[in-house]
Amino acid sequence: MAVVELALVGAYLVLALAVGLVAFRLTDDTAEDYYLASRSLGTVVLLFTTFATLLSAFTFFGGPTLTYARGPEWMLVMGLMDGVLFAVLWYVVGYRQWLLGRDEGYVTLGEMLGDRFGSTGLRVLVAGVSLFWLLPYVMLQQRGAGQAVVGLTDGAVPYWVGAGGITLFMIAYVVASGMRGVAWTDTLQGVFMLAFIWGAVVWVLAAVGGPTAATEALADSNPEFLVLGGGLYTPQYVVGTAVYIAFGVTMFPQINQRFFAADSAATLKRTFSLWPVLVVLLFLPAFMLGTWAAGLGVVVPEGGNVIPAVLREFTPAWFAALVVAGALAAMMSSSDSMLLSGSSYFTRDVYAPLAGEADREALLGRAVVVGFAVAAFALSLTATQSIVRIGNTAFGGFAQLTLPVIAALYWPRTTRTGMLAAVVGAQLFYLGTLVAGVILGPFENMGSVGATYYLGWHPGIPGMLLSLLLVVGVSVATSPSPGEDVGAYFGGQRAD
């Protein structure tokens, strides 16, 4: 049986690779082309590549498993987070960055901030902070992929072969064709995920007599799931999670860099209004399938996930194998983009300022992709609890950057000292809380730290407030340093 399943997954991987290699034929040997597809992405590709990038293993595994155990309110968290808040940030941060990138040629966030504030230190700091949170998160995706393959084959394919194989596939098309290849394969993967999850829901509902019957079964087994709120879902949890993740997402390198890659303002406009629709289309079936499974008496093995379990019970094995392919698609489409963005952050914002411009930046960028992927793979083999915890809290780490960046984009009074204080201060607070509370301390996760110390709010939220206080307070108290260039962002009165 495992042969058919492996063949399906293998065929899918080969298809993704083929799309990536077709994109390679259009590639120029410049850094802007490699990292941003020469700022040429249109509506459909930009929408799907951002969307597929946003969706990690959580869509197929973590999310539905959470709604299976705790009820379907995560749909509200997701809708508020990615449907509304992220859409607004898409305009406020994304469109503004796109305009600046078009005028000034920026490729990374660090570059954009370093230029405005005349500060190599800020540039290296922002890239360093980003890479610190990014690497463990990439590692988590590879780990998920490896475990999915082990689960699919009942252990016939060992973990390191599964995770290593996926890593090699990604390296192949990311190295060959950069952003264009990533964006095209993401589009394929996004379409595939949508088709798959709806197919799964229709199949299972047909087998159990429709949504009303499924919900009645749930009303018997877990009536509290149908009631809004309760249990895990406090107002602080719903709002806090949506806020810190939405703000964190905008500073995740692979998302933030996409703000520079749109071909025109019209593309950004169209994409902006499609967010809420796409979020419902993808997450409603995934989360409801997980929730209904609780009423259908599906048993999830310890540490396992609900979607494979529910499909094993109601659909044939080949269809269940497609799930794993869908989940692998979700993981790969996140990781490939992270590898590429991580490489650009390292090459442009860490290597170049410290060691000088590379002669052939696109070539160095490719070498860094390989290095980054291999490092994350090696980490995934030895994954210690601390690294897993850093990866799991990465969204909150990125969220600490967002408010200072918004201040820089909109408030001309923002100073270099204010930016440095806000970035360093908020990171120290958040990382300090993680280390003292969770890694060395008694708490199981950041949520329980928040429940004890911050009135039920995730520590990412007080951290964000601190970053805002610091950027505003310190900027007011200091004057611009020599080398700052307000004109780079405001009113076209550029000093040079």
């Binding site: 379907p72 749909m75 509200l76 809708g79 508020l80 449907g83 509304v84 808040l85 859409a87 607004v88 305009y91 406020v92 469109y95 503004r96 305009l99 429709g210 949504p211 009303t212 019957a213 499924a214 919900t215 009303a219 009536p223 149908l226 009631v227 809004l228 709120g229 309760g230 107002p235 719903v238 709002v239 303002a265 406009k269 169209r270 902006f272 209004s273 499609l274 967010w275 809420p276 629709v277 979020v279 419902v280 409603l284 409801m288 984009l409 909109y410 001309p412 962002y489 405001f490 009113g491």
Partner: protein, 70 residues
């Protein structure tokens, strides 16, 4: 550029979209209809409304507050 009144209108509209993506007035309500909880239907409808409002914003007021800041 839209008028000042319209600009405030848009800020208010976006704030309302954020505020009621979660139907707070149905907190603790467990009624269902057509196989889904009522509060989930509200959310689905609200996301549709958000898409329409975003589209109108993109047509009418895009660039407002972003281009030529300062």
């Amino acid at each position: 550029m839209v008028s000042r009144a319209e600009r405030y209108g848009w800020i208010l509209a976006l704030a309302v979209l954020v505020a009621f993506a979660v139907p707070w007035f149905l907190w603790g309500d467990g009624r269902t209809a057509l196989g889904l909880p009522l509060w989930l239907w509200w959310h689905v409808g609200w996301m549709g409304l958000a898409a329409v409002v975003f589209r109108l914003f993109a047509i009418r007021a895009w660039d407002d507050g972003v281009e030529g800041v300062a």
